[in-house]
Amino acid sequence: MNNVFSNILRFLIVVLLQIFVCSHINLFGFATPALYLFALLLLPFELPLSAQYLIGFLTGFVIDLFAHTLGVNSFACLVLMFVRPYLAKALNRGKSTEGVERPIPGVKDFKWLFAYTLTLSALHQFLVIMLETSSFVNFGHTMLVVLCNTVFTVFLLLCILYIFYPAQRKY
């Protein structure tokens, strides 16, 4: 029960922050972090897949409502939620995954977390930016935006992860 509550609270905080603060950040003129991915990335893996998909879709939808880009973030988040379990499985290869599976410091090492956030952020940003521009004109610049957004997002997510979920035990 406590877990459910903390998840909901996390969603609320992160989505509000995204809508009112992060969406207005324009580092170097174009880099905008996708902070709300944080809530999606930390969703428990044990949740039924259908629930995960639904949560991903709805989160993207809310962001879309405020950005007036209906469908863009919903689609990207849905794809992200679909890929997420497979990515975690792939990253876990060769290691036992017993006990509570949470992508936080202490449970996973830095390498794992870095690969996890980087892959998913890059995928998400690629989809969002490509769908937003919806053309291959100026492809180099589009990719640059994707790159900058991804770097910014990953940096932000890892910082938050290590600040709010400090590793208490090392495995």
Binding site: H24, S50, L54, F57, L65, L70, G71
Partner: protein, 282 residues
Amino acid sequence: MSNLIEFFKNNFHYFLLAVLLVLSILMLGKSMSYSSYKLARISQGITGPIQKNWSEMMHKFSLGQENEDLVQQNIALMREHDNMFIVKEDTTLTMMSETDSLHTQRTRLYDYSYAHVIFKTIDQAYNYIIIDKGSKDGIGKDMAVTSPSGVVGVVSDVSDHFAAVIPILHPDSRISAVVSPINQVGTVVWEGTDPRVAFLENIPQHLEINIGDSVLTSGFSNIFPKGLLIGTVKEVMVGNNASFLTIKIRLATNFNQLSLVYLIENQYKKEIDSLKTGFKTE
């Protein structure tokens, strides 16, 4: 049949995924076609009020900068509006074309800048105002000070970074003025304790002054440009000494709320004053 239900149950998430994917792609298609504004309208309806309030709140943070920009623009407009020029003919060029006005040099008579009030008194017998610009910002003695609504006073003292202003609300302040429709010249003085009211002196009794007539600067003092609003006539009384009227005027400037002032410099004041000293009037 039970097999089918079992299959459906086991693969429910795939169906959901498919449905949601189709839904988002449909929305994408709609929002990208630009032909259907319906979706945009709906999302605007939901988030519009929230975003409006938020942007209004964020707007408050940038009001200072915006204000500064507007002041700059005002100064630019004042310069543009003011067509007091000193016209000099460039004699080396007149040989080529005598009628061409391009070869005359036009120099501004007045220059404009602005400052903020950092201290002021309004309810004493000798009021004064301190502004946040001084000689390093090009402020000099005897520059005219106005507010967006009317005349304020004259710079009396200047230090490096600050300047003192003698407002109309000071017994020593005497501003040459004209009453608007009849163009009769008088002097605005302050003798009361009411920061909203001043007196116009030296208007002969036979003239007809109406309540509400505007009192403007005359431009004779070489401090104020001609035609700035000082106030409006509030009350006309026939004084005891028969030859002049006593006219109460309501000052245009609200000294209570004064925070921004414009400074106007007559760039030829010294030159004009040096001529004036040649005539010993007394």
